[in-house]
């Protein structure tokens, strides 16, 4: 396994929105989940994760709430807002379109 690839600008937002769309999660779990689902390819650094979470929260896509975590400690759980759900759909559609386009170009050769 090589060096984890840098995340494309803006895709982190999409990953976070998608990850918490199933259930509310705290930061550590979000990072872990992305890592697992991507089969260790995508490693989210804390230095990117928390600023992104707080930015999304300021923008009103996600909301946060303190709740008991699986270990019994209080943790900050993030979940999608209604606007965030719409944003997720838009960004996902956008991503599909973009990746298909990139595939076309890359497989051309």
């Amino acid at each position: 396994m090589g060096k984890p690839s840098d995340l494309l600008q803006g895709t982190l937002d999409l990953l976070i929105l998608k990850t918490i769309s199933l259930e509310p999660m705290h930061g550590w779990a979000i990072a872990k989940r992305i890592q697992q689902v991507s089969r260790e390819v995508l490693q989210v650094q804390q230095g990117s994760l928390y600023p992104a979470l707080h930015r999304l929260e300021q923008q009103g896509w996600i909301k946060a709430r303190w709740a008991e975590s699986e270990t019994g400690r209080q943790a900050r759980f993030y979940s999608l807002t209604a606007a965030g759900r719409k944003q997720l759909e838009a960004e996902a559609a956008n991503w599909t379109r973009l990746s298909a386009a990139i595939n076309l170009v890359v497989s051309e050769a």
């Binding site: 930061g27 650094q45 928390y50 707080h54 300021q58 009103g60 975590s69 606007a83």
Partner: protein
């Protein structure tokens, strides 16, 4: 929905910042702990797990900052931080802070006060409906014989009548005239003389003003046959009638005639000027002869322009009418051939406009000096803190960040200074209004929203100016140099000292300009007060008496008997050396003139006329006033009523109209009069106003009975004021319902007439003195700073054998150089700026050498004194101590 959510988030991050910060820390700690747990689960020891987690996590403080950067209000947060830092730094130097705020307060306060006055008086439109459509109308008279151009002459009743009927350019036109009436004693109150406005019925509608109570005049009120009606000012209604709402339809007695009160004007209404206390209809007050005459220049006229008509078109329209009148009666040379106009506001505030703007300019200079001074202080502080700043820059402090902190400091100073200045301005404006109660539009001076905005603007400008000027030098590029310099062994900061000297030179230059303007006004005022008015001014008492025409009809014997008895009784009072009566004493104003011809001279060409100021005087007037009789004698006894046929002329009258002849024995023929007047004497010249040259004057006998008002003059050998009461008792004894007004000594009367000049001079001198003080303080500060910087250098010099006098001279030269440069600049700039006050000067040239020299000497003296102390201290330095300080 999302917007609402965002707003909620913003408010939460704004108001619960501390809590949010704590939560962020908890969130990050949770993440770290989970990582450690995971590591331990993977089989690491406790320490290993911790270190591995921390390594993966990175710098927690940095992460926290990066995350916080996603929050809103970061700009505000750092601004608040700067604000806190600024306040703390200023708090650490209370002396500096106090002085800087005080200087700013003076500068901003004086500016705001003057701006408030200028805005109220000059900039605010008149409080009348569409006031820019209102014009003041004048006759434009030119008299080729006997000279003179009177572009703003009063309007004759007959001319107004013609204008009013024939013009096509005004929607309405009204007459107005300043008068005085006597209000009779009533309800236990004494009789008093009031300033009145004699106006045509349509004045109020022309201005677009409604009475606050009752009604205005109707056309029917404005005729000789109508019953007397009067409209009161709010002030008179309140003062004299206790704001009694039942005042309407009450009868009051004015000049001993009954008048029905029909209305009260609103409190703010002042017209034709602020002293007017009531209004009377002009066609009811004035005889038909005056109202229809074409050359009795008695009135002012106000016109409201029709829509889409310009002032030029309207004036041209009136001029055509005047020209026709002039040409229809070429025998009368005093019918003007043209009309003139200017905006009403210009008429009202024209006299005060220039002085007020000069004062405003002076306060702007003062503010600039204040800013320069504060900038100077800031530079000194920056110099003292340069090591700190250099270290901060070396540690990565952004230049912009440092600049912002610097500006925040100067902003705090300006804001505090502005707040204090506003309070100062509040006081100053109150004082101004109280002192200048008779100035035009003084009632419309208020501190309001616009003034507040102006204050804010000035604060920001001052902050930017003083902040940026001083920041100019906080140059990050010379970082290394300043770290090097911090070793004390060489003279540090010469560049900073250079900037401070430049600022000082500018300050001194501005001060010189103010000093010269003040010096010129002082000299002019001195000249004005030293002017020989042409009569005795010591121990003379004057009283104004206005006999009501209803009981003292003119022409007729009643006023003659009154004046003769009055003078006889007053002269009999103990302490009275002499007494006399005249229509107006010197210094009381122009009052009136009259056309005449000289019987012995060939007739003047058609359309040409001669005129001179005329006065009625009793035979004892000249002796009482100390006006010398140069030739002939005063009026003979028995010059009464129809037998009055003598005249006396002034010296300049004789010089102008009888060149190379003896006027005594010649005869004057008065325009419109029947009999000839024999000239029996020539008297010395007098001035009708202190600032005016003596005008030709003709005197006629008071006892001819044409006059029922004027001034009683009384001369005593000492303490003439003590005669005021006995004389008023004499008057009361003769007519108990006769008010006396303007009881003034001649000195007081002349002082009153030069009040404006005295006020302007005092104010400007005050500003100049203040700026001199600031400049001196600046010089002192800079030289003290330089001396302190050079302590060790001076110590070495002295140790090596330099004479203390040499050191003194060196330091003095260092301090005086900016003063000299500033002086030169100020003198040069003044040669231009003094032109602005040219029109305010009396018999003083703007480029008065004595004033320039005196200012230069004063400035040099003050500068030398300011520099002396620090230079002296430097020269007394103990070299051992200075060197040990290393």
């Amino acid at each position: 929905m999302r917007r609402l959510h965002q707003l909620g988030m913003k408010l939460r991050t704004l108001f619960m910042r501390r809590k949010a910060g704590a939560q962020l820390d908890a969130e990050l700690r949770f993440h770290l702990d989970r990582q450690i747990e995971e590591n331990r689960a993977a089989g690491m020891s406790a320490d290993q797990a911790r270190y591995a987690a921390l390594r993966a996590f990175g710098n927690p403080a940095l992460l926290r900052d990066q995350t916080r950067a996603a929050w809103s209000w970061n700009g505000l947060e750092s601004l608040l931080r700067d604000l806190r830092i600024g306040m703390r730094t200023l708090g650490r130097a209370p002396g500096f802070t106090f002085i800087a705020i005080g200087i700013m307060a003076l500068g901003i306060g004086s500016n705001v006060a003057l701006f408030t006055v200028v805005r109220g008086v000059l900039l605010k439109p008149l409080p009348f409906e569409n006031s820019d459509r209102l014009l003041m109308l004048y006759e434009h008279s030119t008299y080729s014989a006997g000279g003179g151009d009177f572009p703003y002459n009063l309007v004759a009743g007959g001319v107004f009548d013609a204008w009013n009927k024939e013009n096509t350019t005004f929607s309405s036109m009204a007459l107005v005239r300043n008068d005085q009436v006597d209000l009779s004693a009533s309800g236990g109150q004494l009789p008093e003389t009031l300033n009145s406005g004699t106006v045509s019925w349509n004045l109020f509608p022309t201005l677009g003003v409604q009475p606050a109570l009752g009604r205005g005049f109707a056309a029917a009120d404005d005729s000789l046959t109508a019953n007397g009606t009067v409209v009161l000012s709010w002030n008179l209604w309140k003062r004299r009638f206790g704001s009694d709402p039942a005042i309407l339809d009450r009868i009051i007695y004015l000049d001993a005639k009954p008048y029905t009160v029909i209305g009260v004007m609103p409190e703010w209404f002042e017209f034709p000027d602020s002293t007017t206390q009531l209004w009377l209809p002009v066609y009811h007050e004035m005889p038909t002869t005056i109202m229809s005459h074409l050359d009795f220049h008695n009135f002012r006229a106000v016109g409201r322009l029709k829509p889409r008509v310009t002032a030029e078109e309207a004036t041209a329209n009136l001029s055509i009418i005047s020209r026709r009148l002039h040409e229809s009666q070429l025998d009368d040379p005093f019918i003007a051939a043209a009309a003139n106009s200017r905006p009403l506001i210009e008429h009202i505030v024209g006299d005060v406009e220039r002085p007020l703007y000069v004062m405003l300019a002076a306060t702007a200079c003062l503010l600039l000096i204040a800013c320069l001074n504060v900038a100077n202080l800031l530079v000194a502080r920056a110099a003292a803190r340069r090591k700190e700043l250099a270290i901060r820059t070396a540690l990565g402090g952004g230049r912009l960040r440092l600049l912002r902190e610097h500006l925040m400091e100067s902003f705090l100073l300006s804001a505090a200074g502005g707040a204090a200045g506003l309070a100062l301005a509040w006081e100053a404006v109150h004082w101004f209004v109280a002192t200048r109660r008779n100035m035009a539009r003084v009632g419309s001076i208020h501190l309001d929203g616009v003034v507040a905005t102006f204050t804010l603007g000035v604060i920001v400008l001052c902050a930017l100016f003083s902040g940026l000027v001083s920041a100019l030098n906080a140059d990050g590029k010379r970082l290394l140099a300043s770290l090097h310099e911090s070793s004390k062994s060489h003279s540090a900061g010469s560049a900073r000292a250079r900037l401070r000297k430049t600022l000082l030179a500018a300050e001194v230059g501005l001060t010189v300009m103010l000093l010269i303007a003040a010096g010129l006004l002082l000299k002019s005022y001195q000249r004005l007060r030293d002017t020989d008015i042409g009569c005795t001014t010591k121990n003379i008492l004057t009283l104004h008496i206005d006999l009501p025409g209803a009981r003292y009809k003119t022409p007729g014997p009643a006023p003659v008997n009154f004046f003769a008895t009055l003078l006889e009784r007053v002269r009999a009072l103990p302490g009275v050396e002499a007494a006399g009566f005249v229509t107006a004493v010197p210094g009381q104003g122009y009052m009136g003139d009259m056309g005449f011809t000289i019987a012995e001279h060939p007739p003047l060409p058609r359309g040409k006329g001669t005129f001179a100021i005329n006065r009625s005087a009793d035979p004892g007037y000249f002796a009482a006033m100390g006006i010398p009789i140069l030739r002939g004698h005063t009026f003979d006894d028995g010059q009464t009523l129809d037998r009055a046929n003598e005249a006396i002329i002034s010296e300049s009258f004789a010089r102008k109209f009888f060149p190379g002849e003896d006027p005594v024995g010649k005869h004057l023929h008065v325009m419109g009069g029947k009999e000839l007047h024999l000239i029996v004497g020539v008297v010395g010249d007098t001035r009708y106003d202190l600032g005016e040259t003596p005008e030709p004057t003709q005197y006629y006998p008071l006892y001819a009975g044409d006059t029922n008002n004027g001034t009683l003059v009384i001369r005593s050998s000492h303490d003439v004021e003590q005669l005021a009461l006995p004389v008023q008792h004499v008057i009361q004894g003769m007519d108990h319902d006769l008010p006396v007004s303007d009881v003034l000594t001649m000195d007081q009367l002349l002082g009153k007439s030069t009040l404006d000049e005295s006020f302007n001079t005092t104010l400007l001198t005050g500003f100049a003195a203040l700026s001199l003080l600031l400049a001196a303080a600046g010089l002192f500060g800079v030289l003290s700073y330089i001396a302190a910087q050079r302590t060790s250098e001076i110590g070495i010099r002295i140790a090596l054998g330099a004479q203390r006098e040499q050191v003194l001279r060196l330091m003095l030269a260092d301090g005086l150089r900016p003063a000299l440069i500033g002086l030169a600049l100020g003198l040069a700039a003044s040669t231009v700026t003094v032109r602005l006050i040219h029109s305010m000067l009396y018999e003083t040239q703007p480029l008065d050498l004595a004033v320039f020299a005196a200012v230069a000497a004063t400035l040099l003296l003050v500068a030398a004194l300011a520099c002396m102390a620090p230079a002296w201290r430097a020269s007394r330095l103990d070299p051992m101590q200075a060197l040990r300080m290393e």
